[in-house]
């Protein structure tokens, strides 16, 4: 039995957790639900010994324990699968496992580890290439490495933090099956998520947190998804709908990819093979697919960072002519911290990162900061960006607000062409809704939007058309009416 009682934690004036209790039995799956900032991660960090609670206690098998460090947590049999994987990209799978599992500085017991890993992968029916550097694995495979790591360390309680955020439906199914299998073998699994359906599907018990307080703790059985959502965000969620009216796609394409091939250099890796794609004004064209099947190349081709080996990118001449290395539209990049924003630069500068060279924000290469301020203030209001002031470094903002800064910069002037890559990654429900609504609004304003997204549900909910990218080929273009499972199958190439 893994139990915790009345855990409280404060950071200065902020209460992160207040009297949270829960328990989980071996052989069962428990869920923890909550929005970003609800205290889930704080709770997990406390369990894992990275933080120490101000009050409350933890009991493992009836014994009160003090978890001082991750190492102590591991000794107690707590295995953690973090949302941001704790893996070293340059090390191989086996080395990563050895780093986490082993003790002392000595030789790596390769054979023993290999046997151990073999044992668990056999149990779960997985296949892992132990010599492959982790950085080359897909996200799903990396997650498996994380789980194996926890199991090899002798974990009896497996804690997974938002494990399905980056997985395809089929991968998610596989994971949930594996977790059930693990539970059947007597492991206790804690499943942290804000995806309500999954929690309902797999968890017998659930703990719902809001602003660090317990909202609900008990069985999932009697709880509907709507009830869960209401408890979690404190209000009911409006369903996201596409208005029936609106301009709708126009037949005239704005952008076309004609038999574009790219990638596949000396070192292999991803390729794009004869991709044909058209994008029309007033539509959202969704690209589904498991990460690593050519999305990256597609994005880089479009942005002009990569010259296609053959084929051409055609652009509506009205939007200006396609020059190498310049994407004429807006772009919401996948990794906003690395590509979307300059974290140490102020909110104002980040908001102006594209417009600064236009009149009236600069004249003959001289910046007019008064205009910048004016513009930034306006955007902050319009997009409801919460920041201390315009000169605060954008890195100090929360993830949702950071994404709003990107959106405000890219979407403010209703661009004719938008490329969005995983725009809701790492955001909670409310922020996700905001982003999707903004994309829809742009669509109604007549933008042509290419949405490359790994969350199939969200993709289907707002796209007009969906294509699937599998091993560098654009499989089929389906209408969202096509069943979710069909698209999922296409994503896996079956």
């Amino acid at each position: 039995m893994l139990e915790w009682f009345d855990i409280s934690k404060r950071f200065g004036a902020v209460t992160a957790l207040q009297g949270v209790s829960f328990s989980i039995a071996p052989g069962s799956v428990g869920g923890i639900l909550g929005e970003n900032g609800a205290g889930k991660s704080t709770l997990m960090n406390i369990l894992f010994g990275l933080l120490h609670p101000d009050a409350g206690s933890l009991r493992v098998d009836g014994r009160v324990v003090l978890v001082r460090s991750p190492r102590a947590a591991r000794r107690l049999g707590l295995g953690m699968v973090h949302q941001n994987f704790k893996l070293v990209d340059t090390l191989s799978v086996l080395e990563n496992i050895a780093l986490a599992v082993g003790r002392g500085p000595g030789l790596i017991p390769r054979r023993r580890l290999r046997r151990q890993v073999q044992h668990w992968t056999d149990q779960l029916g997985w296949r892992l290439d132990l010599a492959e550097p982790v950085g080359r694995l897909t996200v799903g495979q990396q997650q498996r490495v994380e789980i194996i790591k926890a199991l090899c360390a002798g974990g009896r309680w497996l804690i997974l933090d938002e494990p399905t955020a980056v997985l395809t439906p089929q991968e998610t199914e596989n994971l949930l099956d594996s977790l059930r299998a693990l539970a059947r073998q007597g492991m206790g699994v804690i499943f942290i998520s804000h995806k309500l359906a999954e929690v309902r599907q797999i968890c017998a018990q659930v703990l719902i947190l809001r602003h660090g307080r317990t909202v609900y703790a008990g069985a999932t059985a009697g709880l509907s998804v709507q009830a869960m959502a209401q408890k979690m965000i404190g209000r009911s969620l409006e369903p996201l709908t596409r208005a029936a009216s609106g301009a709708g796609p126009s037949p005239q394409p704005r952008l076309e990819l004609r038999a574009v091939c790219a990638g596949g250099g000396r070192r292999g890796g991803e390729t794009l093979q004869r991709v044909n794609l058209s994008l029309q004004a007033g539509e959202i064209h969704g690209i589904a697919g498991v990460a690593g099947h050519g999305q990256d190349l597609l994005v880089r081709c479009l942005l002009g960072a990569l010259r296609p080996t053959s084929g051409e990118v055609w652009l509506d001449p009205a939007l200006g002519h396609w020059r190498h290395r310049v994407w004429p539209g807006a772009c919401i990049p996948e990794d906003r911290r690395r590509e979307g924003l300059i974290e140490t630069l102020s909110v104002q500068s980040n908001l102006m990162l594209k417009d600064y060279r236009r009149r009236p924000f600069s004249v003959l290469g001289v910046c007019r900061f008064a205009r910048w301020r004016q513009r930034a203030t306006e955007l902050v209001e319009r997009f409801d960006i919460r920041c201390r002031d315009l000169s605060a470094p954008v890195g100090t903002l929360s993830g949702g607000n950071q994404q709003k800064v990107v959106l405000a910069r890219e979407l403010a002037d209703t661009p004719p062409l938008i490329l969005a890559v995983n725009p809701t990654r790492g955001l909670d429900v409310g922020a996700t809704q905001f982003v999707l609504r903004q994309l829809l609004a742009a669509r109604y304003a007549g933008a042509a939007i290419l949405l490359i997204h790994s969350d199939l549900d969200e993709l289907l909910s707002i796209s007009d058309r969906v294509s699937v990218l599998y091993q560098g080929r654009l499989q089929a273009t389906a209408w969202p009416a096509a069943s979710r499972d069909d698209i999922g199958r296409l994503m896996l190439g079956v």
């Binding site: 894992f48 990275l50 190492r71 704790k86 990209d89 002392g104 790596i108 890195g395």
Partner: protein, 329 residues
């Protein structure tokens, strides 16, 4: 022939190994430091401190090992100062490293002049006493092997130590969990925390190791190879070490090769400068009209050319130079 070397090739190899020893030694230390995420551009200064401390300690005590030990200790102490400022004081590593260089330059010059004054006042010689420096050590048995013997097994003790260290560090990085820890520290400190590895302590120890190596490399220059100290006697070798670590793409094999390559280039230009007078070859004779500055330039130009031909982008350890824990801004 005259030095006991049968051929020019043999001599070139011997001298390359000998002259590249300090580069390799300091390079290995710096490599380990950078793998854990600490970039110490003060390596030149650490070497210089090693030079002066080794010389004065050896001269004062008359014991060579005292000089070597003191140099390593002084290197470690200076590195500890640097690491303290950088790891716990969260100062910028490049700035702190540059300051360390300046500090070492000033401090070694000051110490040397104080030491000379001291000797002058007491009427002592500033020369290193006979037993206070290291000599070449021929490995019994092995040194008589043809070619390999005089090249590999007639070197300074620190050369053998460096060789062992290189192999040892390679082995550690490849086969032990310590190696994994070192690489993880520079690549992903978050992972280290999750694995219960103390990030700052790990980096501190690595920086100390780098300091010790650099100090010993300095000792090699002053009490082994030359038995002398001179103002700024490292002459930019520390900066070359930094360059070579990048050149070797943070791997020990290429690093050692790079050091040997650079050392060989220098030997080669000096041999060329000589043979243009001593060999009665028309080509060599023609070389006499080339100004000697171009020979001195040769290693650097050749290194640039090699880089231009061989270089491929390598990002290096991901957390290199970044403070830990990271601040929000």
């Amino acid at each position: 022939m005259s030095l006991g070397h049968e051929s020019l090739a043999e001599f070139l190899c011997w001298q390359t190994l000998s002259a590249a020893t300090p580069l390799m030694l300091a390079g290995i230390g710096e490599l380990v430091g950078e793998l854990t995420g600490v970039i110490d551009i003060g390596i030149e200064g650490l070497m210089l401190i090693g030079c002066i401390v080794a010389y004065t300690a050896a001269a004062a005590t008359g014991q060579a090992w005292m000089g070597l030990g003191a140099a390593a200790a002084a290197g470690m102490a200076s590195a500890a100062l640097f690491a303290g400022v950088v790891l716990w004081g969260r100062a910028d590593q490049i700035v702190a490293g540059a300051a360390l260089n300046l500090l070492a330059l000033g401090l070694s010059a000051t110490l040397w002049s104080l030491y000379q004054n001291h000797c002058a006042n007491l009427g002592l010689s500033t020369h290193l006493p006979r037993g206070a420096g290291y000599d070449l050590v021929a490995v019994p048995g092995l040194s008589h092997l043809p070619f390999i013997g005089p090249v590999l097994f007639d070197q300074y003790t620190l050369f053998y130590a460096t060789l062992l260290l290189a192999v040892g560090i390679w082995w550690v990085l490849r086969f032990t969990r310590l190696g994994l820890m070192i690489r993880a520290l520079g690549e992903s400190p978050e992972t280290c925390v999750a694995c219960g590895i103390p990030v700052r302590l790990g980096r501190f120890l690595a920086a100390l190791f780098a300091g010790g190596c650099a100090g010993a490399a300095g000792a090699f220059l002053s009490i082994m190879r030359t038995k002398a100290f001179a103002f700024d006697m490292t002459g930019g070798q520390g900066f070359m070490v930094l360059a070579l670590v990048i050149f070797g793409r943070w791997a020990i094999g290429p690093l050692v090769l790079g050091c040997l390559f650079f050392g060989a280039l220098n030997s080669l230009q000096q041999i060329l400068q000589t043979t243009r007078y001593t060999l009665a070859d028309p080509w060599m004779h023609a070389l006499r009209s080339v100004p000697f500055e171009f020979f001195q330039m040769l290693p650097y130009v050749a290194a640039l050319a090699a880089l231009a031909l061989l270089s491929r982008r390598h990002p290096g350890p991901r957390a290199l130079g970044q403070p830990w824990p990271q601040e929000v801004a």
